[in-house]
């Protein structure tokens, strides 16, 4: 690791200005950033350590809903009563993520801003669309864990466990730079390679995530979350499905979001429509299974993810509608 300077801003404004000056990266806990620095994927002269900034840590609530400060640790999100009661799928997905150690360190803000895990991207010596070059090594190479949807330009999968669930709950990402605040719907926060292959999230230079809002009106009791991993003791999801039925108690408002199968969390309105068609019975589940792979463009090594999604959607929908594993 090449030694670097560490800036310790105490306000958002300071942090923002530091980044505007010379594009140094922000660091929350560093569980992702430090790994990339050690692997010489990023070689910054300076990093901007966000941990001394007040007011962006901890979980609060007001009449708009529950706010997660960007610096809140993943563990604290998972065990929060507010989250477990109002947004249980979020608690569930975070409990499944990473290791106890990482969950104690990693922040929720860092979790949604982390860089994808594509192994080409994380080895020096591979230049591709995402890191400023062109082309994609994974498309013709080793792509077992890569995207099956939206993978033409870059086939990474969005690595955050929380991301698809936040999209399902209609979370709002609050970001702030020296020009002020913006609120971005989670569904628009994650950037597709078609929009800009170099970006993962919709932040401009100097902007950082300050808080995440889980809207009060989207608290949901009928939920299902299913995820497949090769290993059960910490591993990345191969695919996940989040299902919210009657979101916020509004009959017929459903959400289906797929995770780890495309560069951004994939909301599937077509599947939501099938669910809106009537009771969740065997027929409906079969049609969901039939439809879930539609639009997929699997690569040489990841066609299995379509099959996996068929299994996972069945599980998530059955869980959401209170049915037993069948």
């Amino acid at each position: 690791m090449k030694p670097f300077q560490v800036a310790l801003p105490s306000t958002i404004d300071q942090a923002s200005k530091l980044q505007l000056k010379d594009a140094s990266p922000f660091m929350a806990a560093g569980t992702d950033l430090l790994v990339r620095i050690k692997d010489y994927v990023t070689v910054p002269d300076m990093i901007i350590d966000l941990k001394r900034i007040d007011g962006i840590n901890g979980i609060t609530s007001d009449d708009r809903g529950v706010w997660l400060g960007a610096l809140t640790r993943m563990h604290d999100v998972a065990v929060s009563e507010k989250i477990q009661q109002g947004y249980p799928a979020l608690a569930e997905t975070i409990r499944n993520a990473a290791t106890p150690q990482i969950r104690n360190m990693a922040t929720i803000g860092g979790n949604i801003c982390q860089q994808p895990r594509c192994w080409y991207l994380r080895h020096e010596g591979y230049s591709c669309a995402k890191n400023g070059g062109s082309g994609c090594w994974a498309r013709d190479g080793e792509n077992e864990f890569h995207a099956i949807f939206g993978n033409k330009v870059c086939a990474v999968v969005q690595p955050s466990n929380a991301a698809p669930v936040l999209v399902a709950y209609g979370a709002v990402i609050e970001v702030q730079g020296s020009d002020g605040k913006r609120e971005i719907p989670a569904g628009e926060f994650f950037v597709t390679p078609e929009q800009d292959p170099r970006k993962d999230v919709d932040l401009t230079s100097g902007e950082l995530v300050t808080r995440i809002l889980l809207p009060a009106e989207n608290r949901t009791t009928r939920w299902g979350y299913s995820e497949a991993r090769e290993k059960q003791s910490f591993d990345w999801a191969l695919a996940s499905v989040t299902v919210l039925l009657d979101r916020g108690g509004r009959a017929g408002e459903h959400r289906v979001v797929l995770g780890a199968v495309s560069p951004v969390p994939l909301r599937r309105k077509d599947l939501e429509k099938i669910l809106a068609g009537g009771a969740v019975d065997g027929d409906r589940i079969s049609s969901l299974k039939k439809k879930v792979g539609e639009g997929a463009t699997p690569l040489s090594g990841n066609g299995y993810k379509v099959q996996m999604l068929q299994g996972l959607i069945g599980k998530a929908v059955r869980q959401a509608s209170g049915q037993k594993e069948g």
Binding site: P3, Q5, A7, S10, T31, L34, D49, R52
Partner: protein, 212 residues
């Protein structure tokens, strides 16, 4: 040495930084040459308007490790693991992957397990750090460490310090965990030798004895 609540750095060091403001212009040179001057390359503190910028040369870092204060000079880019092992000689904490995937470097920060390889030492300033050396000593083993011996929960021993730290935290939070809870508690600790079942038995043994 008083701590500055904002930067978490000892006040003394900030004074030095301020007194040596004149070095600022030549910081790149100073950073390489003047390693003995803490924070030589650091920026200035204009009453909180300008943020502290440390390094890349050594700065003085005070950590509270195993209930005593330890001071060292190290670059701010030093991870907590490297600081403990290379600067403090606390080599019980192991490095295996150096990437947060194996748990060999597990220590407690304010009672919670973390991978010390994946955080900067300066981010542990002000916290209570417990390493394996703070849990027990060969002359005075913790009940859990004794249980590891009774149940042969170690083979080569390389993952063992991390395992013991994780299990100590687990028992602290849940004095009588069931097998699934123990498995989850050590899910971030890899053992190449395959001692998991013995570790589970060790935790159960310690738990039955009401120890930690």
């Amino acid at each position: 040495m008083a701590m500055n609540p904002e930067s978490g750095l000892p006040d003394e060091q900030r004074e030095k930084v301020s007194r040596r403001t004149f070095i600022k212009g030549a910081s790149a040179v100073a950073a390489v040459g003047v390693v003995q001057i803490p924070g030589a390359a650091a920026g200035i503190d204009k009453a909180g308007v300008e943020p502290d910028i440390l390094g890349p040369g050594p700065v003085s870092i005070r950590l509270r490790v195993n209930r005593s204060d330890l001071d060292v000079e190290a670059p701010p880019s030093t991870t907590l693991l490297d600081l403990l092992r290379d600067h403090h000689g606390l080599t019980g904490t192991k490095r295996v992957c150096d990437r947060g995937s194996c748990g060999a470097c597990t220590v407690l920060i304010d009672g919670r397990v973390v991978d010390s390889c994946s955080m900067l030492a300066i981010d542990a300033i002000g916290s209570e750090i417990t390493t394996i050396e703070g849990i027990g000593t060969p002359e005075n083993l913790s009940d859990l460490q004794q249980a590891f011996i009774e149940t042969d929960a170690l083979q080569c021993g390389f993952c063992t310090p991390g395992m013991v730290v994780s299990c100590t935290a687990l028992l602290e939070q849940n004095p009588s965990p069931d097998r699934d809870q123990i498995r989850q508690g050590i899910a971030g600790n890899i053992c190449r030798c395959g001692t998991y079942q013995n570790v589970i038995e060790a935790v159960e043994y310690a738990s039955r004895k009401g120890g930690k």
